[in-house]
Symmetry: C2
Subunit: 289 residues, 2 copies
C-alpha cells in the first residue's frame, strides 16, 4: 500500500512558513542538505537527524555552482520522485527542492569563500568547487535556520569548509559530521558510484583498502611520510586511471602533520578517477596509545 | 546632570541574549552599523531606526578588513565614550562594540564578496574594500538578526553591495537607505571630515555643488555624456588634490545609463582627495517629466 509522499516545497517562502510553524509549536529542526540521487548513505544522515531534532528537512538541490567546467553537472543523476519516496520511508518531514532560479535569481552576484581548509586536496583538483559549496550551504543554513545540520564525512574537506564558514559567519546551526556509509566490500556510498561499469565497480573498493592499511600503520606508530609514500604507491598500483591525491592530514585543520608518528587524530584522504568518474574517500587514524 | 550610559556589549553571546530578551517581549529590532566617530549623520540614522523598530542596536566597529594597505585604519578616529554618550542621548538601546578578536578570531578564513555593483567607482580605487564591507555586514546582520538595518546613502555603492548580499544570502533584515546629512554649506557629514584643515574644509563643499549642478542638468534633460564631461571638468577645476571619479550611474544597478537624457532615476557619484583625505558624495537625479 503506497502511502502519501512527504510534503515538498520549492520556494524559500514556503520553506520558512513550514519551519516557523514547527518552531511555534516548540519543535527543533534538523537540516540534511543533499544533491538528491539518494542512497543508503543519505538515509543514514536522515536517521541521525531524527535523533537530533523533532523535525527533519532534507534539501535536494544539484548546485550548478559547485561543478567546474567539464565536470558532470549535466550528467549528475536526478531521481527526484525516488528521492521523495526514500525520504518519506525514512521519516523525513519535508523535502526542500528549489529550482535553480529560486536559489540564484537573475542578478545573483554573491560568493562565500573560505581560505585555508579549502585549499589543496579536492580544492586543487576542482578550482571554484568549494566557493560553490560554501555559497550554497551558507544560503541553505540561512534559509532553513535549523538547530543542527548534518553532513557526511565522505566529503571530509567539504565538512571542514562548512564548519569554518558556520563559525566565521556566526551562523547558529550546530554542524554534525556523520560516519561514512559503505557497501559490504568497503566502497564508500556515493551517487557517483552509479557511473561505474562492472569492471570499475569491482576495482573501486581498492581505495578503501589502501586507506585502511595506511590508517592502521599510522595508529601502529609508523611515521607519516613513510606511510603516505607507501599508500601512494599502493594506490598507484590499484589500476585506477588517475590518482588525484593521497594525503595524511590533521583531522581538524586539514594541514599536513609533522613527520614522525602521529600525535593527534589524522585523516587519510584520497581521490581517484575511474574512467570519467571521480571517487573520494577518507579514513580516520588515532595516534598510538 | 549626566545620566547613565546605554548598555554596551562586546560579545556576540551577550548581544544575542539581549536581542532574544527583547524578541520574547514582542519587540522589533533595528540595527545601525557604524564605525564610531559618530556625527549628526549617524544620529539621523538612529532617529530613523527608532521610527522603524521598538529597539535600536548601534554597532561600533572599525573594521580592519575594509581598509586597504596604506589607508587610514590606524588613524581612523576612535571616540568610543563620546559615541556612547551620543547614542544614549539619541535614545539608542544598545551599543555593540566587539573587539577585533570577537569578530575575527584566530583561524578566521571566510570572505563574502559581491561582484557587479562592487566594481568600478570606489571598488576600483579601493581594491578589497567591498569584500571587507560585505563580510562584516553579513556577520553583523547574522549576529543581530534585526528586522531592519539602516545605512546612510553617503556610501551609496556600499548600500548597493549590502542590498545585493542581503538578497543573495537570503538574509531576512529589511535594508533601509537613509538620506545624506549635510553641513549647512552642503558638505556631506563624514567621520573623515575631521582630518581636514581649515583650507581643505573650505574647499570640500565644492564637490557637492558640482554634483548638484550635474543632477539639475540631468533633470532638465541634458544628455548624460555631456553632463558627465562638464561635471568632471568642473570638479577638476575645484582645486582638489585628486579626482578619483565622477560618474552618472543608474540608481539601482550602478551601471552607466545610455547616453541621451536620463529616463530612470540616476545617481551622480564622486570621490576626491584633499591631501590624504578621501571624500565621497552623491546626489540623485530624477528624469525630466
Amino acid at each position: 500500500m503506497p502511502g502519501n509522499l512527504l510534503p515538498i516545497v520549492q520556494s524559500v517562502l514556503r520553506l520558512r512558513a513550514q519551519v516557523s510553524a514547527w518552531r511555534e509549536r516548540g519543535a527543533s529542526v534538523a537540516l540534511v542538505p543533499t544533491m538528491g540521487a539518494l542512497h543508503d548513505g543519505h538515509i543514514s544522515l536522515i536517521r541521525l537527524a531524527k535523533i537530533q531534532a523533532d523535525r527533519v528537512v532534507a534539501s535536494v538541490f544539484v548546485n550548478p555552482r559547485q561543478f567546474g567546467v567539464g565536470e558532470d553537472f549535466e550528467a549528475y543523476p536526478r531521481t527526484e520522485l525516488a528521492d521523495a519516496q526514500r525520504l518519506t520511508e525514512a521519516g523525513c518531514d519535508l523535502m526542500y527542492a528549489p529550482p535553480a532560479a529560486e536559489m540564484y535569481p537573475d542578478g545573483f552576484s554573491t560568493t562565500v569563500s573560505v581560505r585555508g581548509v579549502s585549499e589543496g586536496l579536492c580544492g586543487a583538483a576542482r578550482p571554484g568547487h568549494f566557493d560553490g559549496v560554501a555559497t550554497v550551504v551558507s544560503k541553505l543554513l540561512i534559509q532553513v535556520a535549523p538547530d543542527v545540520a548534518i553532513f557526511g564525512e565522505k566529503d571530509y574537506q567539504q565538512l571542514a569548509v562548512i564548519r569554518r564558514l558556520t563559525r566565521d559567519l556566526d551562523l547558529t546551526p550546530k554542524i554534525i559530521g556523520a560516519p561514512i556509509a559503505r557497501a559490504s566490500d568497503g566502497l564508500a556510498l556515493s551517487s557517483r558510484n552509479a557511473y561505474l561499469d562492472d569492471a570499475q565497480r569491482a576495482r573501486a573498493p581498492r581505495m578503501y583498502r589502501v586507506l585502511t592499511e595506511a590508517a592502521l600503520a599510522l595508529s601502529a606508530g609508523d611515521p607519516v611520510e613513510r606511510v603516505q609514500a607507501a599508500a601512494r604507491a599502493a594506490l598507484d598500483a590499484c589500476g585506477f586511471d588517475q590518482v588525484d591525491y593521497l594525503e595524511v592530514r590533521n583531522a581538524d585543520t586539514l594541514q599536513p602533520p609533522p613527520d614522525g608518528p602521529i600525535t593527534r587524530t589524522v585523516r587519510v584522504l584520497a581521490a581517484v578517477r575511474l574512467g570519467r568518474t571521480r571517487l573520494i574517500d577518507n579514513v580516520a587514524a588515532e595516534p598510538p596509545r
